[in-house]
């Protein structure tokens, strides 16, 4: 019965997203547009001594994977906030549904869409001429990583929805997450960032390690340190996010 509950709730999460074209198109189109603009504008940075990639496209291709996860945060959060506002969460709470099933279902749906996004970003990147240094095995690792990152950020979005009960509040956090993306190694490797304070901030910013994990698979191949740090940060975000979301769900659905 638990598996049935998770499946039906995950299915609902996916179906709802697919029936809102804006929620499908925006996470796909916006990051790819930004990739196109930045890889054109930052083309000359590959000439910097020590630049780790042969093309700006290959270097920047990691960014959509993380941006897509941020969209997942917002979509997961606003959908659940809407359920709270309409009373649909109360309807679910009146069934024998286990709280963990609701969380797993919501996150399962979000993560499944995250995989779809990852497939699109990789396909477009390869079609545009970026290589993929880690090969077929690396693609599997990339998808596993995307799944984990989307899960973690999705859990944060769900936690925000449960704490605030408001879609507008969830959307209000979106710019904050984007700031974390911009003050990272998004556009430049950390060791080549000339401005000292920015380099320190980027080094302390966990998003840098998420980007570098994906980037290492695209440009380097198998970089154990980058993979370990990336998966470590993603795993930590996932554990923290799911724990906070679970606690928030317990408080929101304070039933016997």
């Amino acid at each position: 019965m638990f598996a049935d509950q998770v499946y039906i709730l995950a299915r609902r999460s996916v179906v709802r997203t697919l029936r809102q074209p804006a929620n499908v198109i925006s996470p796909l189109v916006f990051p790819l547009m930004l990739l196109a603009v930045n890889s054109g504008g930052l083309r000359s940075e590959v000439n910097l001594p020590g630049f780790p990639a042969k093309s700006a496209l290959a270097f920047l291709l990691a960014v959509p994977f993380i941006q897509g996860a941020l969209f997942a945060t917002m979509n997961a959060g606003t959908d659940l906030a809407r359920d709270i506002q309409t009373g649909f969460l109360n309807r679910l709470a009146l069934t024998p549904m286990r709280r963990l099933a609701l969380l797993a279902g919501q996150l399962g749906g979000v993560a499944a869409l995250g995989l779809l996004q990852a497939l699109v970003y990789l396909t477009v990147g390869l079609a545009a001429g970026s290589g993929f240094a880690a090969g077929v095995g690396g693609v599997a690792v990339l998808f596993a990583f995307s799944f984990l990152v989307t899960l973690g950020f999705g859990a944060l979005g769900i936690m925000l929805a449960l704490r605030t009960g408001s879609g507008e509040a969830v959307q209000g956090f979106f710019p904050l997450f984007f700031v974390f993306l911009f003050i990272s190694s998004m556009a430049m490797p950390r060791n080549l960032i000339g401005i000292t304070w920015f380099r320190y901030v980027a080094t302390a910013n966990p998003v840098s390690y998420l980007l570098e994990c994906v980037r290492s698979l695209i440009t380097t191949g198998w970089d154990g340190e980058a993979l370990a740090l990336g998966f470590g940060v993603a795993g930590t975000v996932a554990v923290v996010g799911v724990t906070l979301a679970s606690r928030a769900l317990g408080q929101r659905v304070a039933r016997a």
């Binding site: 309409t86 649909f88 109360n90 069934t95 024998p96």
Partner: protein, 326 residues
């Protein structure tokens, strides 16, 4: 002794920095009964329903639903109840059939039964043709019917309906009343119905509890409550103004006079059965009648007698005072 369907004792719900939304109510509902919980906005009706359906823990007091304690035995309570709450609580992006399948799965119905049960309920509430349309295209009445169907998926013994006909047109409201009455009559479902509509409580409920500012101010059958506050009055307007005095003298035989703007009104000593005698007496005295009307006490009169306010007037000031509590 037959176990009560609902047994509430001194139930209280207090909000932080706010008034007591429910302030020590006690009530019982027998199996198969339709119990009407009537009161203005902000009276504590929805808060009571939320506590009885385990969505909100009481601050103090006890409540047994289907024999189970709402605080200590929540999962058992939820297995026995269905609820259609104040908000229709539907997902506009799912179809009616998808809602029912989701509900059936979460309620633990065997896989083989889910589709069949969905079809059966869609037919029962008249939504078969609209089953595969997204709910955002449904009218208010259709949403309420789907809401009711979802509450019935697992064949609950007790059904909670929180203002089920608010915002519906007359036709939709009547259809819903018929379905609720059928559920109680044919399926033996106990119904706990909250409403702010006098007519709804009067038509549907076997017993009514009237709540105001978190307290139950009156409880009983609609007829008994109305009889408590007074006997019916009859008002007659003569066709000729000259007959007014004769009419007053004649009508005095049937009860004491009460105020009337245009004719003669008396509170009937023997009740509505005297109406035929009054007509015969008017005929015998050859007094022509322009207008004759029997006024039965209403539940609003009951509310007025108990609280000093009309139910409609109470909706305005209770809502301001206690809107946040609901």
């Amino acid at each position: 002794m037959t176990e009560l369907a609902i047994d509430v004792r001194d139930l209280v719900r207090e909000y932080k920095k706010g008034p007591r939304a429910v302030d020590g109510i006690s009530l019982t509902v027998a199996p198969g009964e339709i119990y009407g919980f009537l009161g203005p906005n902000g009276a504590g009706k929805s808060t009571t329903v939320h506590m009885l359906t385990t969505l909100l823990p009481p601050t103090s007091g006890t409540a047994l639903v289907a024999g189970y304690d709402v605080v200590r035995e929540g999962p058992q309570v939820r297995m026995q109840i269905g609820a259609a709450l104040q908000e229709a609580a539907l997902d506009p992006l799912l179809t009616g059939r998808e809602h029912l399948r989701l509900q059936a799965t979460l309620q633990g119905l065997p896989r083989a039964d889910r589709s069949r049960r969905a079809d059966e309920l869609l037919d029962r509430v008249g939504l078969t043709e609209a089953a595969d349309r997204k709910v955002r295209g449904y009218s208010g009445g259709m949403k309420r019917r789907l809401d009711l169907a979802l509450a019935l998926v697992h064949r609950p013994r007790i059904l909670f309906l929180d203002e089920p006909t608010t915002g519906l047109d007359v036709q939709s409201r009547t259809a819903l009343w018929e379905e609720v009455a059928r559920l109680a009559r044919e399926d033996g479902v106990t119904v706990f119905l909250t409403t702010q509509y006098l007519e709804e409580a009067d038509v549907l409920a076997g017993r009514v509890g009237i709540i105001d500012h978190g307290h139950i101010v009156a409880e009983g059958t609609p007829a008994a409550l109305k009889a408590e506050v007074g006997r019916p009055t009859v008002e007659v307007i003569p066709a000729q103004r000259d007959d007014l005095e004769r009419m007053e003298a004649m009508m005095a035989r049937f009860g004491e006079h009460v105020a009337s703007a245009h004719g003669v009104a008396v509170r009937l000593r023997a009740g509505a059965t005297d109406l035929a005698e009054i007509v015969r007496a008017l005929d015998a005295e050859a007094i022509g009648v322009e207008h004759l009307q029997l006024h039965q006490p209403s539940l609003d009169d009951v509310f007025l007698a108990k609280t000093g306010r009309s139910l409609e007037g109470a909706a305005d000031d209770s809502g301001l005072a206690m809107g946040m509590a609901e």
